[in-house]
Symmetry: C2
């Protein structure tokens, strides 16, 4: 376990992650639409992480973390607490490596996300839906199993894995001017910002966050990490705050953090379904929402938009 | 207008269509899923025509027809009657060529399909929702405009265009054993069967039809074209019967026609949304339904599955 002790996230770490995970993940397509371009007055390039393994970019970071472990550590299994996609991604990566995965989930996690963890052979341990309960139960499981904690974002291995999203996007599309990236815990955003700025220093990396879960926007403005108010948003994948580790990267590399409304997220999500024919979950539609709500100046620009995931209960669509 | 008078559909006609339409259509991706493969005990290759321009394979045939017209004929515009995707596809192709398109639509056509025609600048003329009314109104429009009728499937230019779907699929996936293709009017099926059998004579082409709209299955069994009972199915794109022209190709080249249930179509559609993260309309899910309902012997085989379209009203999902 050398890399997790590396002090900073850099392109070398992200490239090493890419080489490590490439056999186990999808190189997701980049989609375009003349209809959506006309609506935005820009050229949009949608990086489809909803078509990633387990239906979200989380497969990248979790796979990198699991395959980074030396055999003796790996044998005791991996542990995390997650309301959703990271849990499924960690379960899948552990299954691929043939080791156990213990996933602590809040009792109110979406059914589809619970089932995904089980489908990949993960052991689900339910807890009360509070961060304190999640962390407490995860600590207990760590002690009982001797396993390794793989946090959903407060982990350099995970952040480096998520950054491979931007490596692929920049490789697929030349001369991008802007990347729009959703932010929750900041693992994806950290990795994307470091990769993008290393590969193309002039690119703008703009984070997009639900106004109801705006700790990243507040922290960015203040220049220090603040937890903010209890988050509330339909974008259930973003109901978490940054950590010091992700904030440091975001503070250093991200150009702006903008917020979007709940109604905008629903509108953007529906538009993506109708036009791109892609099932995108609310969190996955947040970056595009910044365009729908005119929160970013992109006229005439080439804009990468990260659609981060596609897992949701089809019985409960937000426009009904 | 030389090709439309060609007597038979063959690979040369389909290849000529492909060369003609390639600048105007998407080469759609072929998607795979370990989850769906495991459920089917086969290797499935989904040809994603829901990601085609206008959200359906119809863009292929309509574009070929419109760009086949000599200038003097094209100038007066094109006319069709269509409950949906063909109308939008023809409107788009006409817009690309800068000529008018007159689309006769039944008054009960899905809202999303009406809007698509208008978005591409097509002139919508509503009629009663019967085939007789559609044809009568289309005839009147033809007389008034001097335009050219481009039928949704009873047209060699259209059939040849739809056949390009199979050319791409076989080019993308080596050694396919089977292709599953939905059948309504038979334009797609004719083109796919001719292309596939020409390129890979040992391949099996199996048509899939809703049991409530089973004229193709009946005609196939009888060895002659019969219109059957009035069709009724959630698969609104397949609520039409073959014609003599498409039946002749199907009789000659298709290996079997199987039928599927309404409940199966809904189940298949939902599964595609959940696992592939693709918005597929009911008609577009019909080919995969044959796998869900065990209507085809595919164990251990490499199977191409055509997802023909992705246009539907998101407010009225069939599992609600």
């Amino acid at each position: 376990m050398t890399e997790p002790n590396a002090a900073t996230l850099d392109l070398a770490l992200i490239r090493a992650a890419h080489a490590r995970i490439r056999p186990h993940i999808n190189r997701t397509p980049v989609m375009t639409s003349a209809t959506l371009d006309a609506g935005a007055n820009a050229s949009l390039f949608f990086k489809c992480e909803n078509l990633q393994k387990v239906g979200a970019f989380k497969a990248r970071g979790a796979t990198n973390a699991v395959f980074s472990l030396p055999d003796d550590q790996a044998a005791r299994g991996v542990v995390t607490h997650s309301s959703g996609n990271h849990g499924a991604a960690l379960a899948r990566a552990a299954q691929l490596r043939g080791i156990p995965a213990y996933i602590v989930m809040p009792s109110n996690a979406p059914r589809s996300k619970q089932e995904a963890v089980k489908r990949y052979g993960g052991k689900v341990i339910f807890c009360e839906p509070t961060l304190a309960a999640r962390e407490e139960v995860a600590q207990r499981v760590l002690q009982e199993t001797g396993g390794v904690l793989i946090h959903a974002f407060d982990d350099l291995r995970v952040m480096a894995g998520q950054g491979t999203t931007a490596v692929e996007l920049l490789d697929s599309v030349a001369d991008l001017d802007v990347i729009l990236c959703p932010v929750g815990g900041g693992g994806l955003l950290s990795g994307v910002a470091v990769a993008a700025k290393s590969l193309a220093p002039d690119i703008k990396v703009i984070a997009v966050e639900p106004a109801g879960a705006d700790d990243a926007a507040q922290s960015f403005k203040l220049g220090r990490f603040v937890a903010g108010n209890p988050p509330k948003s339909i974008a259930d994948g973003l109901l978490t705050t940054l950590c010091e580790r992700t904030f440091a990267e975001i503070h250093r590399h991200v150009d702006d953090v903008v917020t979007v409304s709940e109604a905008g997220i629903v509108q953007a999500m529906r538009k993506l379904w109708e036009v791109l024919k892609l099932v995108v979950e609310p969190s996955g539609a947040v970056a595009y929402t910044a365009i729908v709500e005119n929160r970013v100046a992109i006229a005439g620009r080439k804009v990468g938009v990260i659609l981060s995931g596609g897992n949701l209960d089809l019985d409960k669509l937000p426009w009904q």
